[in-house]
Symmetry: C2
Subunit: 347 residues, 2 copies
């Protein structure tokens, strides 16, 4: 007998200009959902959504249109979409069965009917927390992996700087750099975060960028010899301060520019690009979506590190889908420490 339940959802209310607010989204219980799939509709799955990933780039999908758009915008009145982890509660698809766990792009709602589950990935390793698939085993981990191992060509003893260092990607990539023998410094937005960098993640140094008046001079202080590798999560002013501090043949991996997402129509100027030529720098903009084929190689590296406790992974969990809008907004004021996750349910 089919059981109908309320299905809480996080809807986009209107397209966003500038800094996003909680009120740009609404959490509703208006929808209901049948917890059994109709048997005459093969090829679908019904999921109970457990963990939702909050990612800075979701901000761009909240804009109606902007130059250089690289992902579809969300639709006002519809749920947001992001990476998540779900449990299958019913299935009419031969490859998925009740009780399986999946990860992939899912709606921000408690339950979903998914008619094209072939785009989702079945989770085989469940000896680690399932929420990890929204972060260290998902986009954040792969972004750190691809950027660091495929592009940075880090050598032992090189000077490595990462911005947003206590964030989802930052604290992972900083540890990769330490494992490779680099001297690692990170910037973050509070004393608490900087303490974590040094005391929990094993960075050599860290600083609170909000307390620094002259970022160029700050970087010079932390890197008197200059920076070989900059892992850029923020763009804007920090990138501008890094450029004159780069060493000959330095590399800059750019996996996002959170500092610019709320002002895409009036971005900050970067004035020091002549150093790209002076120092013969390489800059790479990248997204892990172009490197999905590397997942097996990445898992070969990351699972042992996690299981043997050789990498610290920090999650910042908001409990309950009601708190999802605040969790997402918090990314842009730096409220999160580590990977921001929303736990819709734990099982």
């Amino acid at each position: 007998m089919a059981e109908m339940v309320r299905n809480k959802q996080v809807l986009l209310k209107n397209y966003v200009d500038g800094f996003p607010k909680e009120s740009d989204m609404v959490v509703t219980s208006d929808a209901t959902i049948n917890l059994e799939l109709p048997k005459n509709e093969p090829g679908s799955i019904l999921t109970k959504n457990l963990y939702l990933s909050c990612d800075p780039m979701m901000r761009n999908r909240m804009t109606e249109t902007y130059e250089g758009a690289y992902m579809d915008s969300f639709t006002p009145g519809s749920p947001l979409v992001g990476v998540g982890v779900s449990k299958i509660v019913d299935s009419t698809h031969p490859d998925f069965k009740k009780g399986d766990y999946i990860t992939g792009h899912i709606n921000w709602e408690e339950y979903s009917v998914i008619r094209d589950p072939q785009f989702l990935t079945k989770i085989h390793n469940t000896d680690v927390p399932l929420s990890y698939y929204t972060g260290i085993l998902g986009m954040a981990g792969m972004t750190a992996y691809v950027g660091f191992y495929e592009f940075c060509s880090a050598k032992k003893g090189e000077y490595f700087f990462v911005s947003a260092a206590s964030g989802a990607i930052g604290h992972i990539v900083g540890q990769f750099a330490k494992l490779a023998g680099c001297y690692v410094v990170g910037s973050a937005g509070s004393k608490e975060k900087v303490d974590l960098l040094k005391n929990k993640f094993g960075f050599d140094e860290g600083f609170n960028y909000k307390e620094e008046e002259n970022l160029k001079a700050t970087l010079k202080r932390y890197f008197p010899e200059g920076i070989d590798i900059y892992f850029d999560n923020v763009g804007g002013k920090m990138l501008d301060a890094v450029l004159p501090n780069m060493r000959l043949h330095g590399r800059i991996a750019s996996c996002g520019m959170i500092s610019q997402y709320n002002k895409l129509d009036q971005p900050e100027g970067v004035y020091n690009l002549q150093h790209v030529f002076f120092k013969r720098l390489k800059i790479l903009g990248f997204t892990f979506y172009d490197f999905l084929h590397l997942y097996p190689k990445f898992y070969d590296l990351i699972f042992p590190l996690i299981r043997e406790g050789k990498i610290e992974y920090l999650e910042h969990t908001a409990e309950g889908i009601e708190n999802a809008p605040a969790a997402l907004i918090g990314l842009f004021s730096g409220k999160n420490v580590g990977k921001q996750v929303v736990a819709v349910a734990h099982n």
Copy 2:
């Protein structure tokens, strides 16, 4: 019997701020030189200097100091130094003999005594004009070659844009791109230059950037599908206009930023770097000095192209060392078309 002659020289008068002027240099006949080397000083050569190369990056060496300096500054009261072609008129070095031609860094003067000639390159192929070694067979040609063949990964049918397109590097690299089957557009600073791009160098299109009010819109007009490869000679505003016009996985080769050299303390802002991430671009700053080992490979390519008339090479020659300061300054107001050379003597 030793013959003493006057030795005209171009000296730097004072370090330069902002736009350089002819009066920042002085041409003097004060020095004299003995046209025979003392026989008891082995290991030297005496050269008669024939062709001097005028290069935008020489401007940076006229500044006392600037952040990111990548070459030594010139010394006020001493001759400028640049790439040149010379004939050996006397030698006490076993590897060089009277009548040999050499190329390398030489002083801006009529005759030079060179005590470390091992840093110079002997010219073996003299069936092409010797002045070519200051350009298409020297720095300009190698810069075009390294940037294009080692970095751009051009594929047939790709959209290629080059700035300063009628300049020393630009008109060569544009022809490389045509040979590779690209659609090639160049920007230049006069109607005459744009005509050359289309009618002499075989570019598909060209435009006069000085007549365009909105460079971003101009590029959109010439590249409705976007730009795959931008060969950047100028930096600044043009780079900023190119970024939003780049296609997914585009490449930007940066071999200099002439637009910024006269205002290194107040460079222009670049506002569109978020497209580095949106379009997953690669940017490479490079100089041919890091790729000197590729000279043989480059010569294998370029000599047949020159001998078979498959590449057009344009020189802009100032006759006489007296005109060297004006020739060098002219680079920054775009007076030259093609490679700017000073002919001190033709043999």
